[in-house]
């Protein structure tokens, strides 16, 4: 198993931390992992993205141009990365603020209305965990117990009391994700 993922959105949406939690959880499940961020001017406002690879084998390139899965959180990122999903791959996106929806017919596309749901539940800061939960429903590459361990490892101890809320947000994501176009 090798899963090559790009996560992209605005700086400050928790793109990098979502990727980090995924990578830590993969490591706890004894997988090979890599986490490669975009760094530089785009981090300071504008778009931010991270490539996460989780595999049973030694990882070759941590930098890729095509992906099994794209997790997309804003319009600019959708415009940039929709074409980078491998045929037969998966695209997960939050429709909030999206005016031009994905058009590919050769990939599986899912919507997770995480921004709206997080607002409704009063958990805006856990919006990225809702998205992650949606992704994990269709690509269950990490088991729940290892997500918990990954959160323990990646969050500083003073935030450990938030882990149950994080796990709950992952569950919410799995509940609200819906098919947009499947092949």
């Amino acid at each position: 198993m090798t899963e090559e993922i790009i996560i992209a959105g605005f700086g400050g949406q928790g793109v990098l931390s979502m990727g980090k939690i995924l990578a830590y959880s993969g490591m706890m499940q004894n997988k090979e992992v890599s986490w490669m961020p975009s760094y530089g001017p785009e981090m300071r406002g504008g778009t931010s993205n991270v490539t996460v690879i989780i595999s049973d084998e030694r990882i070759s390139s941590p930098v890729l141009s095509v992906f099994d899965t794209a997790i997309i959180l804003n319009q600019q990122s959708l415009d940039k990365f929709e074409k980078s999903v491998k045929p037969g791959g998966m695209l997960v996106y939050d429709p909030n603020g999206i005016s031009r929806h994905p058009e590919r017919k050769d990939i599986n596309i899912y919507q997770v209305a995480a921004t709206d749901k997080a607002g409704e539940l009063g958990i805006a800061r856990l919006f990225n965990m809702i998205v992650l939960g949606g992704f994990l429903k269709y690509k269950p590459i990490i088991q729940e117990e290892f997500m918990k361990k990954g959160l323990e490892k990646s969050l500083p101890e003073r935030h450990h009391k938030l882990i149950p809320d994080n796990l709950n947000a992952i569950k919410v994501g799995a509940e609200i994700i819906k098919e947009y176009h499947t092949i």
């Binding site: 990578a23 090979e32 986490w35 760094y39 530089g40 070759s60 941590p62 930098v63 890729l64 990646s154």
Partner: protein, 360 residues
Amino acid sequence: MKELRLMKGNEAIAEAAIRYGVDGYFGYPITPQSEILEHLMAEEPYKKTGMVVLQAESEVASINMVYGGAACGKRVMTTSSSPGISLMQEGLSYIAGAELPCLVVNVVRGGPGLGTIQPSQADYFQTTKGGGHGDYRLITLAPASVQEMYDFVGLGFDLAFKYRNPAMILSDGVIGQVMEKVQIEDYKPRWTDEYIKKSFPWATTGKNPGKPHIIITSLELDSEKQEKVNIHLQKKYKECQEKEVRYEMIHCDDAEYIFVAYGSSARICQKAIQLGREKGIKVGLLRPITLWPFPSKILGELAGKVKGMLSVEMSAGQMVEDVLLATKHKVKVDHFGRFGGIIPTPQEVLHALETKIIGG
């Protein structure tokens, strides 16, 4: 006991320095390697091992602080990225001339000039062919993973002290910024003053009644003597070339074509090999781990066995010159690179092999 962590390459350099018992770090922040100084400041090793961590006023000051610390037999280091490393070249030449050990890390970004903060490998010439003035060499290690970023700190210091010569870790923005799993070692104690005094008679360790003064210098105005200094240096470099060449071969056994690549380019080539082999192209990788001394001998041997070699670098073609020297035109050699901070894709690399070497 070994512990498994997920770390950035830059953080791994810093953590390795603390745990290897390094005495001093002197540096000045610059993207894409600022996490090294940040991690050191956050870990406060001066409280744990007594290691000094100091933000100098400039890169010139950093390298000269390293010069001073090295003269005392201490394990000292600095890190920077391309423009900062350019500022250090005078100091590096002096340290090599004075035959002192130290470790310098360059997390390369695109140039020339201030260039870009994105990854590049365009400092190969600067590192392996001089950079500073005079006939000197830097022992140069090229890590291709976060684990190697960690491991090469210790290896770099070991080689630097073995040959009394500066060692360089030549990395780039990809390996500095990526997070991967890394096995970290237990804390090693720093060397005691007694140990340094006993082991390194060349070091200035304070008053030594009855023994001759130790003078650390790279100056020798008498040409006869200065030539002897150079002959001695060359003898040392020759020994280093005979004993310290390191490289990795991947899928070379049945290969008809070879990628030659180091650092992050070598990782991209591994993906290109996967894609190539799916198409039936028998391609392998020779990854130099030491860029100086360069693995010329094995490349010469491979030249007689394969149909072509492609040197893949994030530069306009620098290492390719060493590949050409090593293979002596016995085999077709070409270069493929992107530069200015652009990272080539595995697909591009494979396409270059198909068009420049196989079909070319």
